[in-house]
Symmetry: D2
Subunit: 470 residues, 4 copies
Amino acid sequence: METERSLREKCGVFGVFGHPEAPLLTREALLALQHRGQESAGITVATGGELRTVKGMGLVPQAVPEGALSPLRGTAAIGHVRYSTTGASELQNAHPLAFLVRETPVAIAHNGNLVNAVRLRRELAEAGALFQTSTDTETIVHELARRLGGPDRDWLTALGEALLRVAGAYALVLLVPGALYAARDPLGIRPLALGRLGPAWLVASESCAFDAVGAAFVREIEPGEIVRLDAGGLQSARLPAPRRALCVFELIYFARPDSQIGGISVHEARKRLGRRLAQAAPAEADVVLGVPDSSLPAALGFAEASGLPFELGLIKNRYVGRTFILPSEGERRAGVRLKLNPVPDVVRGRRVVLVDDSIVRGTTARRLVEALRQAGAAAVHLRVTAPPYRHPCYYGIDTSLAEELVARSGSVEEVRALVGADSLAYLGLEDAIDALGMGDGFCHACFSGQYPVPVGEAGGKRSLETGVVG
Amino acid sequence: METERSLREKCGVFGVFGHPEAPLLTREALLALQHRGQESAGITVATGGELRTVKGMGLVPQAVPEGALSPLRGTAAIGHVRYSTTGASELQNAHPLAFLVRETPVAIAHNGNLVNAVRLRRELAEAGALFQTSTDTETIVHELARRLGGPDRDWLTALGEALLRVAGAYALVLLVPGALYAARDPLGIRPLALGRLGPAWLVASESCAFDAVGAAFVREIEPGEIVRLDAGGLQSARLPAPRRALCVFELIYFARPDSQIGGISVHEARKRLGRRLAQAAPAEADVVLGVPDSSLPAALGFAEASGLPFELGLIKNRYVGRTFILPSEGERRAGVRLKLNPVPDVVRGRRVVLVDDSIVRGTTARRLVEALRQAGAAAVHLRVTAPPYRHPCYYGIDTSLAEELVARSGSVEEVRALVGADSLAYLGLEDAIDALGMGDGFCHACFSGQYPVPVGEAGGKRSLETGVVG
Amino acid sequence: METERSLREKCGVFGVFGHPEAPLLTREALLALQHRGQESAGITVATGGELRTVKGMGLVPQAVPEGALSPLRGTAAIGHVRYSTTGASELQNAHPLAFLVRETPVAIAHNGNLVNAVRLRRELAEAGALFQTSTDTETIVHELARRLGGPDRDWLTALGEALLRVAGAYALVLLVPGALYAARDPLGIRPLALGRLGPAWLVASESCAFDAVGAAFVREIEPGEIVRLDAGGLQSARLPAPRRALCVFELIYFARPDSQIGGISVHEARKRLGRRLAQAAPAEADVVLGVPDSSLPAALGFAEASGLPFELGLIKNRYVGRTFILPSEGERRAGVRLKLNPVPDVVRGRRVVLVDDSIVRGTTARRLVEALRQAGAAAVHLRVTAPPYRHPCYYGIDTSLAEELVARSGSVEEVRALVGADSLAYLGLEDAIDALGMGDGFCHACFSGQYPVPVGEAGGKRSLETGVVG
Amino acid sequence: METERSLREKCGVFGVFGHPEAPLLTREALLALQHRGQESAGITVATGGELRTVKGMGLVPQAVPEGALSPLRGTAAIGHVRYSTTGASELQNAHPLAFLVRETPVAIAHNGNLVNAVRLRRELAEAGALFQTSTDTETIVHELARRLGGPDRDWLTALGEALLRVAGAYALVLLVPGALYAARDPLGIRPLALGRLGPAWLVASESCAFDAVGAAFVREIEPGEIVRLDAGGLQSARLPAPRRALCVFELIYFARPDSQIGGISVHEARKRLGRRLAQAAPAEADVVLGVPDSSLPAALGFAEASGLPFELGLIKNRYVGRTFILPSEGERRAGVRLKLNPVPDVVRGRRVVLVDDSIVRGTTARRLVEALRQAGAAAVHLRVTAPPYRHPCYYGIDTSLAEELVARSGSVEEVRALVGADSLAYLGLEDAIDALGMGDGFCHACFSGQYPVPVGEAGGKRSLETGVVG
């Protein structure tokens, strides 16, 4: 599920307190989190009582050039990578967002989505509040500002009170001169981890960011937990947190395989899904291929459980940028080949199992099936390591292409016919949950329609768009 | 007074309502106002219920590239040119500033400076307000937002109430979908003019912006006047306005000679100053030169009144950018020559009167005198068309280099010795006011120390910096 | 003649040998020569046995960024500014051109145009020569390379032999590690001057470049002279040079007024033309205006001789870039106003003499006349300080718009009617030559059709284009 | 062998004749060849009798922006990707190189290296030739130009005669209006393939470029073959070609696994090397990992032959650019982790076989071994699918870091100790040749020191540098 990404994680966040190279360290960490957001990136550094933000459109190297960052001296910083609709004008909505709260500079970065942001904004506006963005994230800062009575008012308490007002999914970092706050929503829908590098504390959406900077993974930030990191160390507070509901798609598709989330390795989780899929939907075949890179572990698991050989039969061109635009429909087929090319002698004359983690519009799958057949495949059996994606996500996944999901309207047989495979099977929800071996602590609303946070307020698509941000 | 500009107008503003090419027309107008601010520029266009802003550092062509602007369709727009300390991070303080007031987008651009902004910000912050900039301009929008009770609340009235709260100098334009507001402070310290182009209404800091787009100058926006321009035409309201106090430096130095301000031509005003200076401080000389470009009309007036021949004896290299940085002190002398070069055979063997409109640090004057002598001048008599600048401005002139003003500490003789002229004379304040022939409706605090708006609140330099913006 | 420049000097050259800051000094000198070419610029520095070239499209600050130049250490450098048709692909033809001659790096920059380049290129190509550009300049280097027999072969002699092969106009600088050569064509059509800064030697198209870097003007490089500058000082050689034929347009229009060329000040030359014009073609008028900047000295001369007052009645917006493109024909009128705006109270009710140095298509003149009338002028008398331009130049002036010259087809009365002036007069050729007071040593082929170098070989427009370069 | 690439293919070439979208098709093909050169790229298009070149530093998307290319209309084009030392000034040596041969534009792009270029350049220079680059490639064009007697002289014959003069390795494409030539050296050291897309002919360094544009692989260009592609179809000529000597490193490391070279799939070749290595140097281990991406097929082959499980235990961050520069030595360790991160639960407690295709300085290998141990590996056995690299390459591989090759000076045991592995084994040359199953038609000079083309002329490192280009 590589060429046409429509199920996109919206953001990744990172924060560090107490490291002499905080700005560049944050940039390295964002590079490790780049898969969580590729359309804008930003870093805010606390430097001598001020906050300085560098952000821009594009990947981290473009958005936060090292030359712009390296002059900034500071031992605390936060960072963010993000998807957004394209256009330079969107830069104003890019994170971190910066504010002055009683002349104290505050920066915030957020992964997730609030479901009651529209109502909160309306109430704030009626009380005379000015907004600088159309983001749901800004409401958190307004609520915080209203709860800060004076210079000695406790920010940790005020932040907790503000978060009690908001509903939805969030993993957020908030920086002020002298302290860094991190918070995770009471259901723990979006992941957030705590790390350590010598005396410095770190928080990150995924543990792979800690590996990238040589830091150690300490533990997850718990659902509903708010931490304050400052010169005195770590201080923790808790919001009421009834149960866990980690986004299951983090394990299936979004997170990096070398991260661990919810106590297990993402790589291992995917191998388990592949193994279970081989048991639940075996295929008469000669070889197992995965769609690189995200589906390779699942393909390996499928191969192990099925006894079929695993092969690296699709080559991905690493140098093709994401923004390559094909000149005309007639050239479009070349475009797919440019990115994923079958290795002819792996495929020729063989019956192939092709393992993928999702089918979105079906276009990529159809072209891959066609390319495999042209390269000589005797049969192509498509196996998907997740249930069909059928319900919109209100907690931070980009569902802008939701109507295009073939699974929403089509039966499995219709999708099979569309993509031209000899057979097609999805992994069932119960099988997937069971295979992951972590009990029922998941949000699987996109598969089941069971929303752990009421989304009545989120309303229709219109108001969702208004409120969607990070 | 060209090479080292320290007495700088802070900003220029422009607005148009009801023209099909509003965005590009605004850009052309800002080019005509470029002399009022060369370090950032921005334009906001009302387009289909939304406001879109393009702004950046540098001159108008770089800051607002035509390619970024031309896709924006809209019949109303505002624009701003501005000085600021350099640095990309300052972009966030560049105008127009944009806000959401009850989900209505609002953009504002401001020339001038408020003297009670620090107190107003503190009060607003205590009530929970978030600020996005450190500008005094933002306080106006907060005050406005608090006075808008509902969707049918009258914005013109609310703006008037908000402006009653602020003190200082302002010529401002404020854009919302469907209407453009313009306002001028009760003393009329900063200029603001009203124009017409077919059915469209325009406002601009100077009338030369109307000429640039083929529009007609209608009248000045009166001191204390607030106008609303919308599909129904022009609506006007008034704040109490006791008397006029137009910044005299607009006529002496800042404004373009082809503008008219306060009822007279700026070019004519400068010729009058030059003529009066020839009467008040004649010189035994053979030829009169002006420092191009701003002092040429005054030099012509001096020549007329003195009967001496006027010559174009200093050539300005038009292609040298303002940001040219000399590699070393040793090369600095070459740097001044690069920009202004004497014509040897105009100067050789002659006694020269050099007319300038101000002396700041004295460095440029000293180098010009030296260059004229090296080119063979038999004597150099320096004549300045304004009194010595001795007091800081709190109403919108950049006084960041105020301590470097030679006139602040030095006597006329000391300055003369410093710059190496054979004689030096300034025009006296009474002579200047009298020569301008407009009565006493001026602010001349920078010469006289008589501040028309109490600046007690503006406090010392520290709080001035905090509150300074546009 | 400012807004629509079609009579354009093609290039300016500069060279320095023996200065520790040669690269930056060359850049400053090119800024002073920027009026001679605004579409590309380049500098080559001799640094440790190698030549390094920085060049680009646009004005000097963009084409040769200080940051790209300042790392280059070297005490000898050459530079060039140039007009060319736009387009990045033209960069390959931009000067300096660099070659390896027997592994010795050579760079050359050239102002002027050869008339036998097409034939020379053909002969060279038949002998197997490869060309890297379509410039006439490259033929000089090929001819040079063929005359260098060995490592100890004298380059000065070889260059002289090579130049004997070429015909046309040239002021050129040629840099190799250890020496800088400069040469001027036998008629001295294009100017070239020699300067001194401490122990360093300089050459430049105009003496104003010496002023810009604090250097002294020593003398002109003589027609037909070739100089070699190296650690041993200056060495000079001569080509046969029958007579002088300096381009008269250098004095009338191209050169900077603070330069001296052919023994007189350009500023003085223009005043003389204006004075003579007042005698030859007086006007019943109240005030004399010049088109800024190039025609102001002539207007001052006209005013002096006529006894009419000189006024600064047209204000030029200094910040409007040359590349401003008007969005639509309907806005074009605004475009002219943007750049040159009349001062109403100078003009109102008065009969105006408008002095210009050339009329090209007539569009600018027509718009200026119209703008003056709209500002209230009672009459507009147009006076041009040169004869009508009627013949193409083959020696280095851009004649790409030659067909559009109104003077080519129209009578004086037709041009007057076109531009809408009350009267129009040109200065006659004999009057112009006489007024300049330098005898008959001019090339005035563009006015008279008398070409001092036979241009039969230059052929029609087609081959001219092929051969045109610098 | 990913993080520190010192054994670098120098270039990739591509050409197409007869396709309406030749420019964009060439760009897509270069993207597929991007692994062969990542420091500059260029495309020349034949358009209406002219050649237009777009080239720049960096990867294809930056060096040849689609916007710069898409205006060019033409049905024939050539392209090139290249390594070079960094620095904008190197752009002049980037390919395609463009020349005018008797006013006919010619562009050439070259993969490989000539060993007699220094002598040829000297001879040409003595005959008066000018060079525009320091490349060996330019000598080919000079030799060609000297053999073109007239307009009807046969270019194919002249090119053949010119190539008889040069010695070394080359796969080259040469474009003139109306025809495209391609040639491969008599030993076929560098690969070159012929393809077809409808009526259009294509040539490419690797067949994967054909897949990228939907074209079919037809056959290899034979060693010593010169083809001419024009409107009349394909015409072929031959140089004397005694035997084959394909660069063995193309199969081991350089080429993309989905290409076929010399008759077999690169992917299959690498699996064979891995299988043979498992037989020749087995290891007591629990799991087999490959260094992504280039060593994964070999690791799969090793796993198959050894019966050990294959795992995806090293995760590569796809978003880390090649130019990432670590701020300080202290941060360097983080840098390696950023790019390749072990999956802890794959490695923990297991004995690991790590398969790589080369060891250069040993730094990356040492860090990988260390990272695997920190992730819990019980043992790390390093297996390399090629013999130690011990001799410089004179035929087009960048050997600039040759002295740093640990294998040059160190014994296998010394290298093992350096990288800290529990065991280390290389595949022997005979085993490698035998495993590839293509007979002895290889150049393996880098392993064996047996040079198929005498390199006496190439001389020492100094002259090699002078002559090295493409």
